[in-house]
Protein backbone atom coordinates (compact mmCIF):
# COMPACT_ATOMS: atom_id res chain seq x y z
CA UNK A 1 0.00 0.00 0.00
CA UNK A 2 2.72 2.43 1.01
CA UNK A 3 4.81 1.31 -1.94
CA UNK A 4 1.91 2.03 -4.27
CA UNK A 5 1.50 5.50 -2.80
CA UNK A 6 5.19 6.26 -3.33
CA UNK A 7 5.07 4.90 -6.85
CA UNK A 8 2.09 7.00 -7.71
CA UNK A 9 3.77 10.19 -6.45
CA UNK A 10 6.90 9.24 -8.30
CA UNK A 11 5.03 8.81 -11.57
CA UNK A 12 3.33 12.18 -11.13
CA UNK A 13 6.59 13.88 -10.24
CA UNK A 14 8.34 12.58 -13.33
CA UNK A 15 5.48 12.74 -15.80
CA UNK A 16 6.32 14.05 -19.25
CA UNK A 17 9.41 14.01 -21.41
CA UNK A 18 12.90 14.04 -19.93
CA UNK A 19 13.28 17.47 -21.50
CA UNK A 20 10.30 18.84 -19.52
CA UNK A 21 11.67 17.44 -16.27
CA UNK A 22 15.06 18.92 -17.13
CA UNK A 23 13.52 22.36 -17.65
CA UNK A 24 11.79 22.20 -14.28
CA UNK A 25 15.02 21.06 -12.61
CA UNK A 26 17.01 23.82 -14.29
CA UNK A 27 14.62 26.53 -13.11
CA UNK A 28 14.68 25.20 -9.53
CA UNK A 29 18.48 25.09 -9.59
CA UNK A 30 18.77 28.60 -11.03
CA UNK A 31 16.34 29.98 -8.45
CA UNK A 32 18.71 28.76 -5.74
CA UNK A 33 21.93 29.88 -7.44
CA UNK A 34 22.23 33.10 -9.42
CA UNK A 35 25.37 31.83 -11.16
CA UNK A 36 23.26 29.30 -13.08
CA UNK A 37 22.56 30.66 -16.57
CA UNK A 38 20.22 29.29 -19.21
CA UNK A 39 21.63 29.77 -22.73
CA UNK A 40 19.03 29.39 -25.43
CA UNK A 41 19.43 28.90 -29.18
CA UNK A 42 15.85 29.32 -30.34
CA UNK A 43 14.86 25.97 -28.84
CA UNK A 44 11.29 27.08 -28.18
CA UNK A 45 9.62 27.22 -24.77
CA UNK A 46 12.58 28.31 -22.66
CA UNK A 47 11.36 31.90 -22.85
CA UNK A 48 8.33 30.85 -20.82
CA UNK A 49 9.79 28.00 -18.75
CA UNK A 50 12.87 30.00 -17.73
CA UNK A 51 13.20 33.57 -19.01
CA UNK A 52 9.80 34.62 -17.68
CA UNK A 53 10.99 33.70 -14.17
CA UNK A 54 14.68 34.66 -14.27
CA UNK A 55 15.34 37.07 -17.13
CA UNK A 56 18.74 38.11 -15.75
CA UNK A 57 19.99 34.52 -15.89
CA UNK A 58 18.75 33.88 -19.41
CA UNK A 59 20.60 34.61 -22.66
CA UNK A 60 19.15 33.83 -26.08
CA UNK A 61 21.96 33.60 -28.61
CA UNK A 62 19.69 32.92 -31.56
CA UNK A 63 20.33 30.33 -34.24
CA UNK A 64 24.11 30.49 -34.07
CA UNK A 65 25.54 27.48 -32.27
CA UNK A 66 29.24 28.20 -32.77
CA UNK A 67 28.89 31.56 -31.01
CA UNK A 68 26.61 29.90 -28.43
CA UNK A 69 29.28 27.44 -27.28
CA UNK A 70 32.09 30.00 -27.13
CA UNK A 71 29.97 32.53 -25.25
CA UNK A 72 29.12 29.74 -22.78
CA UNK A 73 32.83 29.09 -22.27
CA UNK A 74 33.52 32.76 -21.61
CA UNK A 75 30.59 33.06 -19.18
CA UNK A 76 31.90 30.03 -17.30
CA UNK A 77 35.36 31.59 -17.16
CA UNK A 78 33.68 34.65 -15.61
CA UNK A 79 32.19 32.51 -12.84
CA UNK A 80 28.80 31.61 -14.29
CA UNK A 81 27.39 28.07 -14.53
CA UNK A 82 25.92 28.02 -18.03
CA UNK A 83 23.47 25.36 -19.20
CA UNK A 84 23.62 25.38 -22.99
CA UNK A 85 20.44 24.32 -24.74
CA UNK A 86 20.65 23.00 -28.25
CA UNK A 87 20.08 19.82 -30.23
CA UNK A 88 22.58 16.98 -30.12
CA UNK A 89 23.23 17.23 -33.86
CA UNK A 90 24.35 20.85 -33.54
CA UNK A 91 26.22 20.48 -30.25
CA UNK A 92 28.25 17.55 -31.47
CA UNK A 93 28.87 18.41 -35.11
CA UNK A 94 28.18 22.01 -36.07
CA UNK A 95 29.74 23.56 -32.97
CA UNK A 96 32.15 20.74 -32.14
CA UNK A 97 35.30 22.82 -32.53
CA UNK A 98 33.97 25.41 -30.09
CA UNK A 99 33.14 22.62 -27.63
CA UNK A 100 36.58 21.11 -28.09
CA UNK A 101 38.70 24.24 -27.76
CA UNK A 102 36.74 26.78 -25.77
CA UNK A 103 34.90 24.48 -23.36
CA UNK A 104 36.76 21.16 -23.06
CA UNK A 105 40.35 22.36 -23.43
CA UNK A 106 39.76 25.07 -20.82
CA UNK A 107 37.98 22.52 -18.60
CA UNK A 108 35.18 25.00 -17.92
CA UNK A 109 31.95 24.11 -16.07
CA UNK A 110 29.59 24.34 -19.03
CA UNK A 111 26.65 21.91 -19.13
CA UNK A 112 25.65 21.10 -22.70
CA UNK A 113 22.11 19.78 -22.61
CA UNK A 114 21.50 18.24 -26.00
CA UNK A 115 18.01 17.18 -27.00
CA UNK A 116 16.90 15.19 -30.08
CA UNK A 117 19.77 12.75 -29.58
CA UNK A 118 20.21 9.48 -31.46
CA UNK A 119 17.23 8.90 -33.74
CA UNK A 120 14.79 10.70 -31.43
CA UNK A 121 14.33 13.47 -34.00
CA UNK A 122 12.67 10.61 -35.96
CA UNK A 123 10.84 12.04 -39.00
CA UNK A 124 13.13 15.11 -39.05
CA UNK A 125 15.65 12.82 -40.71
CA UNK A 126 19.44 12.50 -40.88
CA UNK A 127 20.03 16.29 -40.78
CA UNK A 128 18.65 16.26 -37.23
CA UNK A 129 19.69 12.79 -36.10
CA UNK A 130 22.73 12.55 -33.85
CA UNK A 131 24.16 9.06 -34.08
CA UNK A 132 27.77 10.18 -33.62
CA UNK A 133 27.51 12.57 -30.66
CA UNK A 134 28.64 10.11 -28.00
CA UNK A 135 31.70 9.17 -30.05
CA UNK A 136 32.52 12.85 -30.52
CA UNK A 137 32.00 13.91 -26.93
CA UNK A 138 33.65 11.04 -25.13
CA UNK A 139 36.91 11.55 -27.01
CA UNK A 140 37.22 15.10 -25.67
CA UNK A 141 39.52 15.27 -22.64
CA UNK A 142 37.82 16.67 -19.47
CA UNK A 143 34.30 15.94 -20.76
CA UNK A 144 31.79 14.00 -18.64
CA UNK A 145 29.14 12.26 -20.77
CA UNK A 146 25.72 11.48 -19.26
CA UNK A 147 22.67 9.74 -20.74
CA UNK A 148 19.51 9.42 -18.64
CA UNK A 149 17.25 6.41 -19.14
CA UNK A 150 14.10 8.28 -18.13
CA UNK A 151 12.70 11.52 -16.76
CA UNK A 152 13.43 10.59 -13.13
CA UNK A 153 17.06 9.89 -13.90
CA UNK A 154 17.22 13.21 -15.74
CA UNK A 155 16.25 15.09 -12.57
CA UNK A 156 18.85 13.21 -10.52
CA UNK A 157 21.44 13.78 -13.20
CA UNK A 158 20.92 17.56 -13.34
CA UNK A 159 21.32 17.80 -9.58
CA UNK A 160 24.43 15.61 -9.60
CA UNK A 161 26.05 17.36 -12.57
CA UNK A 162 25.32 20.94 -11.50
CA UNK A 163 28.49 21.41 -9.50
CA UNK A 164 30.98 19.13 -11.27
CA UNK A 165 34.14 21.17 -11.85
CA UNK A 166 34.48 20.51 -15.60
CA UNK A 167 32.27 20.34 -18.70
CA UNK A 168 29.34 17.93 -18.97
CA UNK A 169 27.42 16.65 -21.98
CA UNK A 170 23.87 15.58 -21.08
CA UNK A 171 22.12 13.61 -23.80
CA UNK A 172 18.34 13.85 -23.94
CA UNK A 173 15.77 12.49 -26.35
CA UNK A 174 12.66 14.27 -27.50
CA UNK A 175 9.33 12.69 -26.61
CA UNK A 176 8.20 11.17 -23.32
CA UNK A 177 9.25 7.56 -22.77
CA UNK A 178 8.12 5.02 -20.17
CA UNK A 179 9.69 5.36 -16.73
CA UNK A 180 12.49 2.85 -16.18
CA UNK A 181 12.66 3.63 -12.48
CA UNK A 182 9.50 3.11 -10.42
CA UNK A 183 10.91 4.33 -7.11
CA UNK A 184 13.84 6.19 -5.64
CA UNK A 185 17.39 4.87 -6.10
CA UNK A 186 20.99 5.97 -5.68
CA UNK A 187 22.38 7.89 -8.62
CA UNK A 188 26.14 8.41 -8.67
CA UNK A 189 27.95 9.78 -11.70
CA UNK A 190 30.30 7.10 -13.02
CA UNK A 191 28.49 4.18 -11.37
CA UNK A 192 26.39 1.89 -13.53
CA UNK A 193 23.00 0.91 -12.14
CA UNK A 194 22.28 -2.84 -12.07
CA UNK A 195 18.61 -2.94 -12.97
CA UNK A 196 18.39 -6.74 -12.98
CA UNK A 197 20.68 -9.35 -11.50
CA UNK A 198 21.78 -12.23 -13.74
CA UNK A 199 24.56 -14.74 -14.24
CA UNK A 200 24.35 -16.02 -17.84
CA UNK A 201 24.75 -12.91 -19.98
CA UNK A 202 24.90 -9.16 -19.40
CA UNK A 203 22.95 -6.58 -21.34
CA UNK A 204 24.61 -3.19 -21.11
CA UNK A 205 22.32 -0.40 -22.24
CA UNK A 206 22.23 3.39 -22.35
CA UNK A 207 19.34 5.74 -23.09
CA UNK A 208 15.58 5.27 -22.82
CA UNK A 209 14.61 2.78 -25.53
CA UNK A 210 17.77 0.69 -25.23
CA UNK A 211 17.28 0.31 -21.46
CA UNK A 212 13.56 -0.48 -21.85
CA UNK A 213 14.39 -3.04 -24.54
CA UNK A 214 17.04 -4.57 -22.28
CA UNK A 215 14.50 -4.96 -19.49
CA UNK A 216 12.06 -6.58 -21.93
CA UNK A 217 14.78 -8.95 -23.11
CA UNK A 218 15.55 -9.85 -19.50
CA UNK A 219 11.99 -11.09 -19.05
CA UNK A 220 11.92 -12.97 -22.37
CA UNK A 221 15.24 -14.63 -21.55
CA UNK A 222 14.03 -15.55 -18.06
CA UNK A 223 11.13 -17.42 -19.66
CA UNK A 224 13.74 -19.35 -21.68
CA UNK A 225 15.72 -20.17 -18.57
CA UNK A 226 18.50 -17.65 -19.27
CA UNK A 227 19.47 -15.26 -16.53
CA UNK A 228 20.41 -11.86 -17.96
CA UNK A 229 22.04 -9.11 -15.93
CA UNK A 230 20.96 -5.61 -17.03
CA UNK A 231 23.23 -2.62 -16.48
CA UNK A 232 22.14 0.94 -17.15
CA UNK A 233 25.22 2.90 -18.20
CA UNK A 234 23.96 6.42 -17.52
CA UNK A 235 27.56 7.66 -17.45
CA UNK A 236 29.47 6.86 -20.62
CA UNK A 237 32.45 8.83 -19.39
CA UNK A 238 33.93 8.16 -16.91
CA UNK A 239 32.95 4.56 -17.68
CA UNK A 240 32.23 2.15 -14.81
CA UNK A 241 35.07 -0.24 -15.65
CA UNK A 242 34.59 -2.20 -12.43
CA UNK A 243 30.98 -3.11 -13.25
CA UNK A 244 31.96 -4.11 -16.79
CA UNK A 245 34.86 -6.29 -15.69
CA UNK A 246 32.61 -7.95 -13.10
CA UNK A 247 30.05 -8.65 -15.83
CA UNK A 248 32.77 -10.05 -18.11
CA UNK A 249 34.05 -12.27 -15.32
CA UNK A 250 30.71 -13.46 -14.01
CA UNK A 251 28.67 -13.90 -17.20
CA UNK A 252 29.35 -15.43 -20.61
CA UNK A 253 29.42 -12.25 -22.59
CA UNK A 254 28.09 -8.72 -22.98
CA UNK A 255 25.59 -7.17 -25.36
CA UNK A 256 25.69 -3.41 -25.71
CA UNK A 257 22.50 -1.62 -26.70
CA UNK A 258 22.36 2.03 -27.66
CA UNK A 259 20.51 4.64 -29.70
CA UNK A 260 23.79 5.60 -31.40
CA UNK A 261 26.12 4.28 -34.05
CA UNK A 262 27.70 0.97 -33.08
CA UNK A 263 30.99 2.78 -33.79
CA UNK A 264 32.53 4.80 -31.02
CA UNK A 265 29.65 5.00 -28.54
CA UNK A 266 28.73 2.58 -25.78
CA UNK A 267 29.65 -0.47 -27.86
CA UNK A 268 32.97 1.08 -28.77
CA UNK A 269 33.73 2.10 -25.20
CA UNK A 270 32.87 -1.33 -23.76
CA UNK A 271 34.85 -3.17 -26.46
CA UNK A 272 37.89 -0.92 -26.00
CA UNK A 273 37.83 -1.33 -22.25
CA UNK A 274 37.21 -5.06 -22.00
CA UNK A 275 39.59 -6.03 -24.80
CA UNK A 276 42.34 -4.67 -22.55
CA UNK A 277 40.99 -5.51 -19.08
CA UNK A 278 39.05 -8.76 -19.51
CA UNK A 279 38.56 -10.00 -23.09
CA UNK A 280 35.22 -11.70 -23.58
CA UNK A 281 32.48 -12.07 -26.17
CA UNK A 282 30.80 -8.78 -27.03
CA UNK A 283 27.91 -8.06 -29.38
CA UNK A 284 26.98 -4.49 -30.29
CA UNK A 285 23.40 -3.49 -31.00
CA UNK A 286 22.81 0.04 -32.26
CA UNK A 287 22.66 2.02 -35.46
CA UNK A 288 24.71 0.24 -38.11
CA UNK A 289 27.10 2.42 -40.07
CA UNK A 290 24.38 4.01 -42.19
CA UNK A 291 22.31 7.20 -42.33
CA UNK A 292 18.74 6.52 -41.31
CA UNK A 293 16.26 8.07 -43.73
CA UNK A 294 13.41 5.67 -43.02
CA UNK A 295 10.13 7.31 -42.00
CA UNK A 296 8.96 6.28 -38.57
CA UNK A 297 8.66 7.32 -34.96
CA UNK A 298 11.62 7.06 -32.61
CA UNK A 299 10.77 3.62 -31.29
CA UNK A 300 10.15 2.25 -34.78
CA UNK A 301 13.47 3.58 -36.03
CA UNK A 302 15.59 2.12 -33.23
CA UNK A 303 13.62 -1.12 -33.58
CA UNK A 304 14.70 -1.25 -37.23
CA UNK A 305 18.27 -1.41 -35.96
CA UNK A 306 17.52 -4.20 -33.50
CA UNK A 307 16.85 -2.21 -30.34
CA UNK A 308 13.99 -4.56 -29.36
CA UNK A 309 13.57 -7.17 -26.61
CA UNK A 310 13.20 -9.86 -29.26
CA UNK A 311 16.44 -9.08 -31.10
CA UNK A 312 18.42 -8.69 -27.87
CA UNK A 313 17.01 -12.04 -26.74
CA UNK A 314 18.14 -13.73 -29.95
CA UNK A 315 21.63 -12.28 -29.67
CA UNK A 316 21.80 -13.29 -26.00
CA UNK A 317 20.79 -16.88 -26.84
CA UNK A 318 23.57 -17.05 -29.43
CA UNK A 319 26.09 -15.72 -26.93
CA UNK A 320 25.10 -18.33 -24.39
CA UNK A 321 25.44 -21.16 -26.91
CA UNK A 322 28.71 -19.83 -28.27
CA UNK A 323 30.29 -19.81 -24.88
CA UNK A 324 29.15 -23.15 -23.50
CA UNK A 325 32.05 -25.58 -23.18
CA UNK A 326 31.65 -28.30 -25.79
CA UNK A 327 28.51 -26.77 -27.25
CA UNK A 328 27.54 -27.71 -30.80
CA UNK A 329 28.03 -24.12 -31.93
CA UNK A 330 31.67 -24.05 -30.85
CA UNK A 331 32.24 -27.37 -32.62
CA UNK A 332 30.48 -26.08 -35.72
CA UNK A 333 32.59 -22.89 -35.78
CA UNK A 334 35.83 -24.86 -35.48
Amino acid sequence: MIDNAISSDWATLYAGAAGDVYRRSLLALAQQDARVYCLDSDMGGLETSFAAHLPDQYVDLGIAEANLMTVAAALARMGKLPFVNTMAAFASARAYEQVKIDIAYNNLPVRIVATHSGLSAAHLGPTHHAQQDLAAMRTLPNMTVLIPADAAETAKMIAAAAYLPGPVYIRLGRRATKLVYQCDYDFVIGQAVQLRAGHDVTIVATGAYPVLAALGAHDQLAALGISARVLNIHTLKPLDVEALVAAARETRGLITVEDHSILGGLGGAVAETLSECFPTHIRRIGISDTFCDMVGDHQELVAAYGVTPRHITTVAQELCLLNLPGSWLVAYKV
Binding site: L61, A64, T70, A74, M78
Partner: protein, 276 residues
Amino acid sequence: MNDVQALAQVALRIREHILSIAAGPIGTHAGGSLSAADILTVLYFNVMRLLPNEPEWAQRDYFILSKGHASALLYSTLAERGFFPVEELATYARSGGRLLSHPTRRVPGVEFPTGSLGHGLSLGVGMALAAKRDRRANRTFVLLGDGELQEGSVWEAIMAASNFELDQLIAIVDRNRLQISGHTEYRMRLEPLAERWRSFGWNVLTVDGHDIAALVAAFAELPSQSKQPTVVIANTIKGRGVKFLEDRKKSHYVTLTPDLHRKALSELHRGEKREI
Protein backbone atom coordinates in the same frame (compact mmCIF):
# COMPACT_ATOMS: atom_id res chain seq x y z
CA MET B 1 52.33 55.81 -20.17
CA ASN B 2 51.17 58.84 -22.15
CA ASP B 3 54.38 59.91 -23.86
CA VAL B 4 54.19 58.98 -27.55
CA GLN B 5 58.00 58.81 -27.84
CA ALA B 6 58.20 56.41 -24.90
CA LEU B 7 55.41 54.25 -26.37
CA ALA B 8 57.28 54.20 -29.68
CA GLN B 9 60.37 52.94 -27.86
CA VAL B 10 58.31 50.12 -26.30
CA ALA B 11 56.93 49.20 -29.74
CA LEU B 12 60.49 49.12 -31.06
CA ARG B 13 61.60 46.72 -28.31
CA ILE B 14 58.56 44.52 -28.98
CA ARG B 15 59.47 44.38 -32.68
CA GLU B 16 63.06 43.46 -31.74
CA HIS B 17 61.72 40.55 -29.67
CA ILE B 18 59.51 39.42 -32.56
CA LEU B 19 62.52 39.37 -34.89
CA SER B 20 64.57 37.41 -32.33
CA ILE B 21 61.78 34.86 -32.14
CA ALA B 22 61.63 34.74 -35.95
CA ALA B 23 65.37 33.98 -35.87
CA GLY B 24 64.71 31.03 -33.53
CA PRO B 25 64.56 27.37 -34.52
CA ILE B 26 61.07 27.31 -36.07
CA GLY B 27 60.53 30.98 -36.95
CA THR B 28 57.14 32.59 -36.33
CA HIS B 29 54.14 34.38 -37.83
CA ALA B 30 56.20 37.56 -38.03
CA GLY B 31 54.21 39.61 -40.57
CA GLY B 32 50.97 39.75 -38.59
CA SER B 33 52.88 40.21 -35.33
CA LEU B 34 54.80 43.22 -36.65
CA SER B 35 51.65 44.75 -38.14
CA ALA B 36 49.86 44.86 -34.76
CA ALA B 37 52.84 45.79 -32.55
CA ASP B 38 51.81 49.44 -32.21
CA ILE B 39 48.23 48.47 -31.37
CA LEU B 40 49.28 46.13 -28.56
CA THR B 41 51.80 48.63 -27.26
CA VAL B 42 49.10 51.28 -26.90
CA LEU B 43 46.64 48.80 -25.34
CA TYR B 44 49.04 47.31 -22.79
CA PHE B 45 51.00 50.49 -21.93
CA ASN B 46 48.36 53.21 -22.26
CA VAL B 47 44.79 51.94 -22.39
CA MET B 48 44.11 48.78 -20.39
CA ARG B 49 43.75 48.52 -16.63
CA LEU B 50 45.90 45.60 -15.52
CA LEU B 51 48.29 44.37 -12.85
CA PRO B 52 51.18 42.32 -14.29
CA ASN B 53 51.82 40.72 -10.89
CA GLU B 54 48.18 39.77 -10.55
CA PRO B 55 46.94 38.54 -13.94
CA GLU B 56 43.54 37.54 -12.49
CA TRP B 57 42.94 40.93 -10.80
CA ALA B 58 39.15 41.26 -10.66
CA GLN B 59 39.08 44.83 -11.99
CA ARG B 60 41.33 44.21 -14.99
CA ASP B 61 40.38 44.84 -18.58
CA TYR B 62 40.31 41.67 -20.66
CA PHE B 63 42.32 41.10 -23.80
CA ILE B 64 41.78 38.29 -26.31
CA LEU B 65 44.22 37.69 -29.15
CA SER B 66 41.74 36.23 -31.61
CA LYS B 67 44.47 36.02 -34.25
CA GLY B 68 46.34 33.59 -32.00
CA HIS B 69 49.10 33.02 -34.52
CA ALA B 70 50.50 36.44 -33.53
CA SER B 71 51.81 34.78 -30.38
CA ALA B 72 55.27 36.30 -30.81
CA LEU B 73 53.63 39.71 -30.48
CA LEU B 74 51.51 38.79 -27.47
CA TYR B 75 54.37 37.12 -25.59
CA SER B 76 56.74 40.01 -26.36
CA THR B 77 54.17 42.53 -25.13
CA LEU B 78 53.34 40.58 -21.96
CA ALA B 79 57.06 40.16 -21.19
CA GLU B 80 57.80 43.85 -21.77
CA ARG B 81 54.85 44.73 -19.54
CA GLY B 82 56.24 42.52 -16.76
CA PHE B 83 53.94 39.48 -16.79
CA PHE B 84 56.98 37.22 -17.08
CA PRO B 85 60.73 37.77 -17.63
CA VAL B 86 61.82 39.01 -21.05
CA GLU B 87 64.53 36.30 -21.02
CA GLU B 88 61.81 33.63 -21.30
CA LEU B 89 61.05 34.80 -24.85
CA ALA B 90 64.18 32.90 -25.91
CA THR B 91 62.33 29.67 -25.06
CA TYR B 92 59.65 30.29 -27.74
CA ALA B 93 58.65 26.94 -29.26
CA ARG B 94 61.62 25.27 -27.60
CA SER B 95 61.11 21.83 -26.09
CA GLY B 96 60.23 21.85 -22.42
CA GLY B 97 59.09 25.48 -22.38
CA ARG B 98 55.59 26.87 -22.11
CA LEU B 99 55.62 29.25 -25.07
CA LEU B 100 53.74 27.31 -27.73
CA SER B 101 53.38 29.07 -31.06
CA HIS B 102 49.69 29.53 -30.25
CA PRO B 103 49.05 31.02 -26.78
CA THR B 104 47.84 28.85 -23.91
CA ARG B 105 46.69 29.65 -20.40
CA ARG B 106 49.98 28.33 -19.04
CA VAL B 107 51.36 31.77 -19.92
CA PRO B 108 50.54 34.53 -17.38
CA GLY B 109 48.26 37.17 -18.88
CA VAL B 110 46.67 34.88 -21.48
CA GLU B 111 42.92 34.83 -20.79
CA PHE B 112 42.04 32.14 -23.34
CA PRO B 113 44.01 29.86 -25.65
CA THR B 114 43.49 30.93 -29.25
CA GLY B 115 44.76 29.90 -32.66
CA SER B 116 41.80 28.48 -34.50
CA LEU B 117 40.40 31.60 -36.13
CA GLY B 118 36.91 32.89 -35.48
CA HIS B 119 36.61 32.20 -31.74
CA GLY B 120 37.98 35.36 -30.12
CA LEU B 121 35.11 37.76 -30.64
CA SER B 122 32.62 35.23 -29.22
CA LEU B 123 34.86 34.92 -26.15
CA GLY B 124 34.79 38.71 -25.93
CA VAL B 125 30.99 38.70 -26.17
CA GLY B 126 30.76 36.24 -23.27
CA MET B 127 33.20 38.19 -21.09
CA ALA B 128 31.59 41.55 -21.83
CA LEU B 129 28.12 40.09 -21.27
CA ALA B 130 29.14 38.68 -17.87
CA ALA B 131 30.63 42.04 -16.85
CA LYS B 132 27.51 43.88 -17.99
CA ARG B 133 25.13 41.54 -16.14
CA ASP B 134 27.26 41.85 -12.99
CA ARG B 135 27.46 45.64 -13.42
CA ARG B 136 31.26 45.56 -13.45
CA ALA B 137 33.32 48.15 -15.34
CA ASN B 138 35.80 45.76 -16.95
CA ARG B 139 36.30 46.43 -20.64
CA THR B 140 37.02 43.67 -23.16
CA PHE B 141 39.43 44.15 -26.06
CA VAL B 142 39.65 41.62 -28.90
CA LEU B 143 42.28 41.80 -31.64
CA LEU B 144 41.18 40.14 -34.89
CA GLY B 145 43.02 39.59 -38.12
CA ASP B 146 41.35 40.87 -41.26
CA GLY B 147 41.56 37.52 -43.08
CA GLU B 148 39.95 36.03 -39.97
CA LEU B 149 36.77 37.98 -40.74
CA GLN B 150 36.09 35.40 -43.46
CA GLU B 151 35.10 32.96 -40.68
CA GLY B 152 31.32 32.91 -40.35
CA SER B 153 31.38 32.58 -36.56
CA VAL B 154 32.88 36.08 -36.33
CA TRP B 155 29.67 37.47 -37.82
CA GLU B 156 27.58 35.49 -35.33
CA ALA B 157 29.55 37.27 -32.61
CA ILE B 158 29.29 40.67 -34.32
CA MET B 159 25.51 40.22 -34.43
CA ALA B 160 25.32 39.12 -30.79
CA ALA B 161 27.49 41.98 -29.48
CA SER B 162 25.24 44.69 -30.88
CA ASN B 163 22.11 42.74 -29.93
CA PHE B 164 23.23 42.76 -26.28
CA GLU B 165 24.41 46.40 -26.50
CA LEU B 166 27.88 45.48 -25.26
CA ASP B 167 29.32 48.98 -25.18
CA GLN B 168 32.30 47.80 -23.11
CA LEU B 169 33.42 45.47 -25.91
CA ILE B 170 36.04 46.83 -28.27
CA ALA B 171 37.16 44.87 -31.32
CA ILE B 172 40.29 45.89 -33.20
CA VAL B 173 40.84 44.70 -36.75
CA ASP B 174 44.49 44.46 -37.80
CA ARG B 175 43.71 45.53 -41.37
CA ASN B 176 47.00 44.63 -43.07
CA ARG B 177 45.14 43.40 -46.16
CA LEU B 178 47.20 40.24 -46.56
CA GLN B 179 46.42 36.63 -45.80
CA ILE B 180 48.57 33.58 -46.59
CA SER B 181 47.61 33.39 -50.26
CA GLY B 182 47.63 37.10 -51.00
CA HIS B 183 45.54 40.23 -50.82
CA THR B 184 42.27 39.83 -48.90
CA GLU B 185 40.33 41.64 -51.61
CA TYR B 186 41.47 39.13 -54.22
CA ARG B 187 40.95 36.06 -52.00
CA MET B 188 37.60 36.72 -50.26
CA ARG B 189 36.53 40.35 -50.44
CA LEU B 190 35.98 42.16 -47.12
CA GLU B 191 35.14 45.66 -48.33
CA PRO B 192 33.17 47.73 -47.67
CA LEU B 193 34.41 46.66 -44.25
CA ALA B 194 33.49 49.69 -42.13
CA GLU B 195 30.03 49.75 -43.68
CA ARG B 196 29.54 46.07 -42.90
CA TRP B 197 30.36 46.51 -39.21
CA ARG B 198 28.22 49.66 -39.05
CA SER B 199 25.26 47.88 -40.62
CA PHE B 200 25.58 45.20 -37.91
CA GLY B 201 25.07 47.93 -35.30
CA TRP B 202 28.62 48.76 -34.27
CA ASN B 203 30.31 52.07 -33.59
CA VAL B 204 33.13 52.13 -36.16
CA LEU B 205 36.44 54.02 -35.92
CA THR B 206 39.13 53.89 -38.58
CA VAL B 207 42.71 54.77 -37.64
CA ASP B 208 46.25 54.48 -38.89
CA GLY B 209 47.38 51.44 -36.92
CA HIS B 210 50.97 52.64 -36.83
CA ASP B 211 50.24 56.20 -35.63
CA ILE B 212 50.66 55.85 -31.89
CA ALA B 213 49.21 59.27 -31.10
CA ALA B 214 46.16 58.48 -33.25
CA LEU B 215 45.69 55.10 -31.54
CA VAL B 216 45.94 56.71 -28.09
CA ALA B 217 43.37 59.32 -29.12
CA ALA B 218 40.99 56.73 -30.59
CA PHE B 219 40.99 54.52 -27.49
CA ALA B 220 40.69 57.56 -25.20
CA GLU B 221 37.21 58.18 -26.63
CA LEU B 222 36.02 54.71 -25.70
CA PRO B 223 33.72 53.23 -24.70
CA SER B 224 31.15 54.95 -26.83
CA GLN B 225 28.12 56.51 -25.18
CA SER B 226 25.80 54.99 -27.74
CA LYS B 227 25.19 51.53 -26.15
CA GLN B 228 27.03 50.11 -29.14
CA PRO B 229 30.13 47.94 -29.20
CA THR B 230 33.05 49.60 -30.96
CA VAL B 231 35.34 48.32 -33.67
CA VAL B 232 38.61 50.07 -34.39
CA ILE B 233 39.65 49.26 -37.94
CA ALA B 234 43.39 49.80 -37.78
CA ASN B 235 44.99 50.18 -41.19
CA THR B 236 48.37 48.51 -40.91
CA ILE B 237 51.20 47.12 -42.99
CA LYS B 238 52.06 43.46 -42.71
CA GLY B 239 55.69 43.07 -41.63
CA ARG B 240 55.80 46.73 -40.54
CA GLY B 241 59.28 47.97 -39.60
CA VAL B 242 61.35 45.68 -41.80
CA LYS B 243 61.46 46.86 -45.41
CA PHE B 244 62.04 43.44 -46.96
CA LEU B 245 59.00 42.04 -45.12
CA GLU B 246 56.62 44.97 -45.49
CA ASP B 247 53.39 44.39 -47.39
CA ARG B 248 54.58 41.04 -48.71
CA LYS B 249 52.52 37.91 -48.38
CA LYS B 250 55.60 35.81 -47.67
CA SER B 251 56.07 37.76 -44.42
CA HIS B 252 53.13 35.73 -43.04
CA TYR B 253 55.49 33.11 -41.63
CA VAL B 254 59.16 33.94 -41.36
CA THR B 255 62.26 32.07 -40.29
CA LEU B 256 65.24 34.45 -40.25
CA THR B 257 68.78 33.23 -40.84
CA PRO B 258 71.43 34.99 -38.69
CA ASP B 259 72.31 37.22 -41.68
CA LEU B 260 68.69 38.14 -42.37
CA HIS B 261 68.13 38.71 -38.64
CA ARG B 262 70.96 41.30 -38.60
CA LYS B 263 69.61 42.89 -41.77
CA ALA B 264 66.09 43.00 -40.33
CA LEU B 265 67.29 44.62 -37.11
CA SER B 266 69.28 47.24 -38.96
CA GLU B 267 66.26 48.07 -41.14
CA LEU B 268 64.10 48.28 -38.04
CA HIS B 269 66.47 50.76 -36.38
CA ARG B 270 67.02 52.78 -39.55
CA GLY B 271 63.23 53.12 -39.96
CA GLU B 272 62.87 54.10 -36.34
CA LYS B 273 65.42 56.95 -36.72
CA ARG B 274 63.71 58.12 -39.87
CA GLU B 275 60.38 58.39 -38.11
CA ILE B 276 61.66 60.02 -34.93
